[in-house]
Symmetry: C2
Subunit: 396 residues, 2 copies
């Protein structure tokens, strides 16, 4: 009777898998106690998850006597995910297992001017190639995460007024890729996915983190209470268009005056350096010239850091994060930007908010955004709802 | 066999009650499907919750045939909570049922100079009096929520460097009240509890809300993703000490220069009005004079609104809320402050972040903070963990 009733309910599989996502092996009794599910229910649910290969038995647990109960853990090889990072001049794609470990990767210099469909087609073709390289089947693919520059309506997977290619506005990126690969696709802006990656890989136990990208654009991503906060329209983190004092009447591409990015973004730094005779061909060269020890570049980066710091000091008072991570081409150009940010934030923010605040450069490499996109795909693909749906599908 | 195993697990009671907290009656079958718990488990758990009087059967549900299954709903009269709001010159205490409906209330003008223990003793005495008034027993009291001015370490229930009474720093407010009343006590800052109240009562379906108090101090509380975000040290929302351009070299009580509160807080407005000959005895009189239509007061409030708006425009870009609520004695003084805030925020923040943004005055009355404190007590007292612990206690 109880068994019959148990089989009717489809829920609870996802809940069990959430507990196992930390990779720690557990017995059925531990899982029953952690989830509040009856042991008989846990046994049935674990059988379904094992049939899907999502969990596997691990060794034998120490027992209080009798037959040792088996331990179970998430099987990280059960499925794979794709993380794709679409930038202004490159596209990166990584294939990862369910722990986020990279099994295959590919990066190509591709200008956005080629058009969105050409780039998305490249992502799909590369996905198929990476699956073949890693000797995995199409049906092993759990989900795809995609990061794009500019605001994205996360709910629908469509870019909103993208700053680089105006023609992409409202394009159904999610639907397009889903049509080709027939798996769930998550689309988010590049700063959000970089933050998800940094949080998952470097700061898994930090609940309040502010991730800041300083490059051609300036943006941020907020992790509060352990979760990424996207805001009401998915536009949270948009700090590049905050007015700063020193920007005064400087015109910004957004149509407003005095925005942070108009004086501290990479193009503004290049322009300022040219004006004082330090000729820099393009914004990526800032790091090269900085590495040669050019004093003008050092000074310009320090000032950009102070400008960014002015806005971040407000963010620190408002959000009280314990870590700020700085990334992007300007932040990578050396210690000067970081020093400028620290100088202003530690002076301006309240003592309580800065007493344990760390301001650090990103610890992720060039694939950081693609790794973050793969983490977003894992988060979705292993969510309680997705797992329950997978189980329901095999039962139907 | 299955029943025996089911009884061993103590979890799941709280989970069931979470589903019922919206007040909507549901059948056992609906609850089993919503929680993923087996129907046999739901039956047992519901019996325990009914034994604690937390749920009660409601009417008869429409059935597909046979005996109509009973519906169950949260019993709002099962327990009561206390919400206390400790201000600089008053203390308010409300006694509420589990829906947050006020059963009894008391407010008294009490100056903080009397000392913290005198005020806490008054809260405890008033709690006992309100219980008697509402004819409820001490054992009906589920939890107590307390709001205090200034930063509070929520985890420990201790004020941190309170701006009004320095002697309160680190005082164990939670432990002191728990020692007297022997129920869980939650302590938070006044702006957080006002935000919890406004969110629960007025905007229950809004996920991203920024609550701003403009009074002697200026502070805010952040609701993101549906939850209050306290930040790493519980110091989130501290916008009063953000530097604003117009404040230039004005010294602030915090020791820094150019803070928002130094030009837009109530004392700064009173000082500015005196300088131009509009004599106002104290900050509470701003509303009275504003009501008489004094043009200088209107102008001063409008400017304070612009100054607050300057900081809020950054907050809007960062958090992308869908609602900003303005409260506090200065905000209550009329439309001018609100108009000044709107003027700057709608001009400065990004179009995407403001396209659906509402900026509104609080819709809560003088008891708003006390009601918020009672909501905090309900949230804690009916949390899955607290309910599971209550059940475990009756079983032991």
């Amino acid at each position: 009777m109880a068994q019959q009733l148990t089989i009717r309910g489809n829920g609870g599989h996802g809940e069990l898998l959430q507990v196992l996502r930390d990779g720690k092996p557990r017995t059925r009794a531990e899982l029953a106690s952690l989830t509040g599910l009856a042991r008989s229910t846990v046994r049935l649910r674990m059988e379904s998850l094992a049939a899907l290969d999502l969990i596997s038995p691990i060794g034998e647990a120490a027992s209080s006597g009798g037959r040792p109960p088996s331990q179970f853990a998430l099987n990280p090889s059960a499925r794979v995910v794709i993380g794709a990072d679409i930038g202004a001049t490159h596209v990166s794609v990584v294939l990862s297992n369910l722990n986020g470990e990279i099994l295959a990767r590919h990066r190509e210099e591709l200008a956005v001017e080629l058009g969105l469909e050409v780039i998305l087609q490249w992502v799909v073709t590369t996905t198929r190639r990476l699956l073949a390289e890693a000797r995995r089947e199409r049906r092993d693919l759990l989900a795809v995460g995609v990061g794009m520059p500019g605001a994205v309506e996360y709910r629908t997977g469509r870019p909103i007024s993208p700053p680089i290619m105006a023609g992409w506005d409202g394009f159904d990126v999610r639907g397009w890729i889903e049509g080709e690969l027939d798996v769930p696709v998550l689309v988010d802006n590049d700063v959000n996915i970089m933050a998800i990656g940094e949080h998952a890989v470097v700061f898994p136990h930090v609940a309040d983190l502010l991730f800041v990208k300083v490059a051609t654009g300036i943006g941020s991503a907020i992790i509060s209470g352990g979760s990424l906060q996207r805001g009401a329209q998915g536009a949270a983190g948009e700090i590049g268009h905050v007015r700063v004092q020193r920007a005064g009447g400087v015109a910004c591409g957004c149509g407003n005056l005095g925005c942070l990015v108009a004086i501290a973004g990479a193009p503004a730094i290049v322009r300022a350096l040219r004006e004082i005779g330090t000729d820099i061909s393009h914004s990526h060269a800032i790091a090269e010239v900085a590495a040669r020890g050019d004093v003008n570049v050092a000074r310009a980066l320090r000032q950009a850091g102070r400008d960014v710091g002015e806005v971040l000091s407000t963010c620190v008072n408002l959000l009280n994060p314990s870590v700020i991570v700085l990334a992007g081409s300007v932040a990578r150009a050396g210690e000067q930007l970081l020093a400028g940010v620290r100088e202003v934030v530690y002076e301006r923010s309240t003592p309580l908010a800065t007493q344990a605040l760390q301001i650090l450069p990103t610890q992720m490499g060039a694939d950081g955004a693609a790794i973050g996109a793969s983490m977003l795909a894992i988060q979705h693909g292993l969510s309680a709802e997705s797992v329950d749906a997978m189980v329901a599908q095999t039962m139907a």
